[in-house]
Symmetry: C2
Subunit: 217 residues, 2 copies
């Protein structure tokens, strides 16, 4: 069975780029999305050079979404709503994987969840039935994902749609991570909030790559 | 230096009882608080029988608070506000350690944080300067704490007051847990939310004692 095409919006940023590279390496066709198609194409070329494959392409965010079955949202929180509104007309049944952490600079080590409960729930309200929304990858350090390093951080995957949750857990595994079923989309509040705690811990304990692991399983 | 007296409100419940026993064993004078002094006294007698010490006593919640330097709030969320209001007149400079997880049955495996952001922040608003509030112990399984088992779950400790945070980290270590400085009190949202995820994971992966560990340190 051929692998589904993954669009990574914000694929020129640290997390998006690292995930796109890992999926390209695992044999997925990857489309890098960006506000400017040129930057996206340059990022795709970098990934192809690194994998030795020609499986990554780059284009603007909306065109990327139109050609993909999986849409990974990896833009900063400040660009979250705008990006969603831009791609909305191109959404029709895809799975949207929201990686957004609602950080509000300068207090990035303080949890400041939105009134809706989480960025993921905001996304679900915004796409309003045009796509199934899952959330994941909030706690994995992009700097680690971008290397050959083994990932010791569990990926908590949440979604209301059970099939979407399963597919995204598989995507996380294919990116070399250990995925866990963390329940309904509202539970993304936990992993989104944890990121500020990890930022605080990185600063306090002089680590660069704090993550989490579920114990007792 | 003699150890500070710890009042455990809800010390007749699973988590409170287990913590009180661990602290009694570690040499702390412990006062079990309950709505009824008789139940509290019975729980204290159990703890004394188990430790072989006479360091635990039991009384009603307000009297317990009046005699303690540390007040641990370990009541169900439904009793959270009432308990705080009952003991409010007895608060004057103590450290309040809030262990409350804002679970709303029947959906206990769905994150449902209060509008204020967390139970801990609600507590801080309620005590309004009469005590310094810290939050901890949301993710440790009471069933494990109540045994001699080694605890593999990290305890995330949050507080705005840096000294209170440090003291509560020491209390967690003295209860046989590994404590981590998790930042300001607002960050309790992360550990409170995580509990619903852990309940979901316990159910999904047939575990009884899922916990978390911070990796990458």
């Amino acid at each position: 069975m051929s692998k589904k095409t993954i669009a990574v919006l914000g694929g020129t940023g640290n997390l998006g780029h690292a995930l796109a590279w890992r999926w390209a390496r695992a044999g997925y066709p990857v489309i890098i999305g960006s506000r400017t198609a040129e930057k996206a194409a340059a990022a795709a070329a970098q990934i192809n050079a690194r994998t030795g494959l020609q499986s990554a392409t780059g284009t603007d965010n909306r065109a990327a979404v139109a050609s993909a079955a999986i849409v990974v949202l990896a833009v900063p929180y400040a660009a979250h709503r705008d990006t969603l509104e831009t791609v909305l007309p191109a959404l029709s049944g895809q799975i949207v994987v929201d990686t957004t952490v609602p950080l509000r600079p300068p207090k990035v080590s303080t949890v400041q969840l939105p009134a809706e409960g989480s960025a993921a729930v905001q996304t679900q309200a915004c796409v309003a039935g045009r796509a199934r929304v899952a959330a994941a990858f909030h706690n994995v350090a992009a700097g680690l994902l971008d290397t050959e390093a083994e990932i010791h951080c569990d990926v908590l995957v949440t979604a209301d749609d059970v099939e979407a949750r399963k597919e995204v857990m598989q995507l996380a595994e294919d990116a070399g991570c250990h995925a866990l079923n963390a329940g309904v989309l509202a539970n993304a509040a936990a992993s989104e909030a944890l990121t500020s705690v990890l930022i605080h811990i990185n600063k306090t304990y002089k680590s660069g790559h704090a993550g989490i692991r579920i114990t007792g399983l």
